[in-house]
């Protein structure tokens, strides 16, 4: 790829073990040329934000099916702001009722994908919306 490689963290907040979606999306993004890091399951907001900063990612994809998104997503966004990493683009998917979407978008989640979204759609969105955060330091 000509452009610098974009790094994406696929993260599983919450206690649910439903990782089929997260893994499929992780693989599809990798196949589409992105550098993908998958956190594994049962991650706290702190763990996710720390991983994002350590790995210096450009975007975070959150997958949650436990229903705890209204508690966990705002916490993740708050931690990113506290660490000065609010320019990391955050998108999400899983079981998220329509009524919850406006509130989550208001806290800074850029896009919530509904169940049944095609991989193509997700990749197209990422292509459009995720850019390298900054030119990496030399050396």
């Amino acid at each position: 790829m000509a452009e610098p490689k974009i790094r994406i963290l696929i993260a599983k907040p919450g206690l649910d073990g439903h990782d089929r979606g997260a893994k499929v999306v992780a693989r599809a993004l990798r196949d589409a040329g992105y550098e993908v890091i998958y956190t594994g399951l049962h991650q706290t907001p702190e763990m996710i934000v720390n991983a994002a900063i350590q790995e210096d990612v450009d975007a975070i994809g959150l997958s949650i099916l436990s229903g705890a998104h209204n508690a966990l997503f705002p916490r993740i966004m708050q931690l990113l702001r506290e660490k000065g990493a609010e320019d990391i683009v955050v998108f999400a998917g899983g079981i998220i009722p329509d009524d919850d979407v406006p509130g989550l978008e208001a806290c800074g989640i850029r896009k919530i994908f509904k169940p049944g979204t095609s991989l193509e759609e997700i990749i197209a969105w990422v292509r459009e919306n995720v850019k390298p955060r900054r030119v990496p330091a030399e050396g």
Partner: protein
């Protein structure tokens, strides 16, 4: 089939392909180059006697209630008794779920099935930092014996059977259930039900674990022994393919990994010093029923035949009940769509029909709204009514295994069985399922299959109505169950009240004794029972397990 007759048929079939089929295809081409099941097993244009030429009716198919049970485990199947209609339910606090249970029983449901929330499944109390936002969301929160008492309030435990979907902390929840029965004055030989306790499939697919695989198996072993000796009507393990399938496995993988898990549990029971016939009759199974109608029916038929062979030939079980593969089925949550949710009612009906034609012993039908949230009362009623329509209107329960003898179904049953044995032999070579899980083998196979299917969807080789074909722009919203956000606060309040009101000395010494039992390798069940009666919390008991055995971190595989 006589050899000459066979040859003649082959010749005739070739002629049919050459003349009739080819001429037809020239005018009306087939819809695809290749037809395959949702699991990608290739399906032929036509099946006939030539496809089951090697099948011997008495040896391979036989009679219901007799080895190898291909047609059903009971002699009269649904003519005697219909399957148990068992809707999985649990949300909010114990009071909320108790109300749903009573409602379902009033609607004619015949067994209970408890869904616990995520912190309960992971062995955390409701006030643990990791429980934030999760309490009562995906199931009911149970922290102490108090919650369990409320959950079954007004439900005499000798009148219902209860299935509990709980694995890592299964021993703790079983102990609580036993303590509730004792309080209700019901003798332990009269309580019936199931704890899932299938920890291997947690590592493979469902991913709600506490301690690493080997100590987990040891706890399962303790429970199996204790339950076999104290709860004659309890099913201590429900060997589950459901979650394996939902994680993206094929039908063959679901079947093979589930039976391989079963083999590991039987071995564990034998290694604990029990005779196989002492405990094997109480092992039960739990499968998914996906949307590929015939593949699922074939899977259920193959499952019965394979388990019967495994138990009789491999483990030398003598009691025919040890050969029975009794199973619960749930329709495939993963097949439901958020788009055009009413369509899910049709999907569930078709899947439920396949489960019944496959000879299930009990059934949960999913509700149309489950891609959004836990089901509303209205949605769950439609799901239950779907089963009742199949049972009382369609006539499919009038005769046993009505699809038995279908060339296609018999050939597919053979095919599914053959492919599943291949996996089982592979796992045997790795040293059994425990070793295979530690190597990440089934996890990797499932991830591969699930990605393959997603790609087929993207290429539109496979279809989901409303998702990649027949989409509608206008979506009609459906009502969704909302969990009261106050649940967490109320649950935490109750938990803290119990912690401060209990006899602290009794609780503390119960936990100490449990720790000692775990360290010296004594059966931990009596100690867990004492701990729950002393009002130790689920989290405290599981903390002892974590302290003794360590926590599990999974290898990350994508």
């Amino acid at each position: 089939m006589e050899e000459r007759e066979g040859e003649q048929l082959m010749a005739e079939t070739e002629r049919w392909e050459r003349e009739t089929v080819r001429r037809w295809i020239e005018q009306v081409p087939e819809r695809a180059e290749r037809f395959s099941t949702i699991s990608d097993l290739e399906i032929k244009r036509l099946y006939g006697p030539w496809d089951i030429a090697g099948t011997d009716y008495l040896r391979d198919i036989g009679y219901p209630g007799e080895y190898p049970f291909t047609r059903g485990i009971h002699a009269t199947m649904y003519r005697g008794r219909l399957w148990t209609m068992r809707q999985f339910a649990g949300f909010g606090t114990a009071e909320d779920t108790n109300r749903r249970f009573r409602y379902l029983l009033e609607q004619g449901q015949t067994g209970l099935s408890v869904a616990f929330d995520m912190p309960t499944l992971m062995g955390y109390d409701s006030d643990h930092p990791r429980a934030l936002g999760e309490v009562g969301r995906e199931g009911v929160a149970v922290d102490t014996l108090e919650d369990m008492k409320i959950l079954f309030d007004g439900i005499p435990l000798d009148q219902v059977t209860t299935s509990m979907t709980i694995n890592g902390p299964a021993a703790v929840l079983l102990a609580m259930y036993v303590a509730v029965a004792e309080e209700q004055g019901i003798p332990l030989d009269r309580i019936g039900g199931t704890t899932q306790t299938d920890i291997l499939k947690e590592f493979i697919a469902q991913k709600e674990w506490i301690v690493p695989p080997r100590p987990s198996m040891r706890i399962v072993q303790d429970m199996l022994v204790w339950s076999t000796r104290n709860l004659p009507k309890w099913n201590p393990i429900s060997i589950s393919g459901y979650h394996i399938r939902e994680a993206g496995a094929t039908a063959v993988q679901e079947l093979a990994f589930t039976l391989a898990d079963g083999i590991a549990y039987v071995q564990a029971g034998i290694e604990a010093g029990m005779d196989v016939d002492e405990f094997a009759p109480r092992l039960s199974f739990f499968f998914d029923c996906h949307i590929d109608f015939f593949e699922e029916i074939a899977k259920f038929r193959a499952a019965r035949r394979m388990w019967a062979k495994i138990m009789r030939e491999r483990f030398q079980a003598k009691n025919p009940r040890s050969w029975w593969l009794r199973f619960h089925t749930q329709t495939a949550g993963v097949s439901l769509t958020a788009q055009q949710p009413l369509n899910n009612i049709a999907r569930v009906a078709i899947q439920a029909l396949a489960a019944v034609l496959g000879g299930t012993q009990s059934l949960h039908t999913n509700s149309m709204d489950e891609t959004y949230a836990l089901p509303t009362e209205e949605a769950v009623t439609v799901a239950l009514r779907t089963q009742q329509i199949i049972a009382y209107e369609t006539g499919v329960a009038n005769t046993i295994d009505p699809l038995g003898g279908s060339y296609f179904v018999e050939a597919l049953t053979n095919k599914v069985e053959e492919e599943a044995w291949r996996y089982i032999h592979r796992i045997d070579e790795m040293g059994g399922m425990l070793a295979a899980v530690e190597m990440g083998y089934p996890q990797r196979e499932i991830a591969e299959a699930s990605y393959r299917y997603q790609q087929q969807l993207e290429r539109r080789e496979k279809f989901i109505v409303g998702v990649n074909i027949f989409r509608s722009e206008e979506e009609v919203p459906i009502p969704i169950l909302k969990i009261d956000p106050d649940v967490e606060r109320r649950q935490v309040e109750r938990l803290r009240r119990i912690r401060s009101n209990r006899n602290a000395r009794r609780a503390e010494s119960a936990l100490k004794d449990l720790r000692h039992a775990l360290e010296v390798g004594e059966n931990c069940m009596p100690y867990i029972l004492e701990a729950v009666k002393a009002y130790c919390t689920l989290g405290e008991i599981c903390d002892v397990l974590r302290a003794v055995f360590g926590e599990y971190r999974e290898p990350v595989i994508i």
